[in-house]
Symmetry: C2
Subunit: 238 residues, 2 copies
Amino acid sequence: MDSPPVLLKPAVCLLSGGLDSATCLAIARQEGFRCYALSFDYGQRHRRELEAAARVAGSLGAAEHRVVSIDLRAFGGSALTSDIAVPKAGVDPGIPVTYVPARNTVFLSLALAWAEVLASSDVFIGVNAIDYSGYPDCRPEFIAAFAKMANLATKSGVEGRTRLQIHTPLIELSKREIIQKGAELGVDFSLTHSCYDPDGHGRSCGLCDSCRLRLKGFKEAGLKDPLEYAEWNTSENI
Amino acid sequence: MDSPPVLLKPAVCLLSGGLDSATCLAIARQEGFRCYALSFDYGQRHRRELEAAARVAGSLGAAEHRVVSIDLRAFGGSALTSDIAVPKAGVDPGIPVTYVPARNTVFLSLALAWAEVLASSDVFIGVNAIDYSGYPDCRPEFIAAFAKMANLATKSGVEGRTRLQIHTPLIELSKREIIQKGAELGVDFSLTHSCYDPDGHGRSCGLCDSCRLRLKGFKEAGLKDPLEYAEWNTSENI
């Protein structure tokens, strides 16, 4: 007997175009959600990730992909959105200059807005508290506080129709485990982009925190990163 | 003896251009803050309020006024940002169609981003739980949950350098009291704009919820609203 057609539940999936959010989207799809992928053009210097996000959304069967523009450069304060140089000397402890003030708060707020319009009570975000580069808004306690606030912020929350759930399937995984999970779910990592400071040909620098964490993850997973790097000897950078 | 020069504490003040946020900014100035006024171009049909915001920021001595664009129309779902008609038959109980999904969450998130860059731990927002048109994100419990989340979201919060405070000086005031307070502090109400659906000449409609609450407030305060209304007999609308 055929199973009856299933009306999939909608979920908003934040999608940067990096390997974490790609894997997160693949997990949401595997869990049976109809995925509405959301990316932001926020003045990031690595805007190439938006093209990666569109490719990833298509390849993983997102129902829709929207890119919302917000000019976070208006406030400055980060190496990702201003003229502060991206550090390349290695991953330091503490909060790095690539931290964008309140970025995940802003992104989750906009995901919440879309979720409310879609009558969705599920938001997926690929944050990660292990290899997380020290960003405060990637921690479980932040996510929990956001969900609590969100349920007081919305019409559907107040009317008791839905209870927003923020899914963070990667939060306790190492970069190695994220890559293994993504590979298992068929994520095409050649479509993703992680580098904070790609060169004019779109090649990853191999030296910024994001490249280093990615390369280390692939090495530990025993897999080859399909991306092209500007630096040849990438194994030295991890 | 002269008092020593005082280095004013910076505060981010959300400023829509309406009378509530104008009064809120006047209160922040009176409390001795150096005010950074923040407005949003979010695709609202009453964009005339942005001109009002600029006039108000200037007249009340804000240190700076920034307008950040975010296209909330990308999500739809509100009479203020889409083709749903603005209701004019009177103020209904419940959450009206002029509610913009997650609007205050998005606005406060962006205020938080600017506050972090300014090393400010104070944000002012003119929300009001009394004559608040039934929006869920104007309630004290929402504001408290946002502040809690914000302190987990930011570099300065995590490092224990600051503890964000969200000031809501109007939250327990009626519209009448807000108007009286604003008048007392010298707010020039002729510079403000409240109407959701002004006509081509910039005149307020006198019939939407926002006009009705405003007119009722002025009447109760025993003051004359200096704005021009498209409908002559405004006293019938309140």
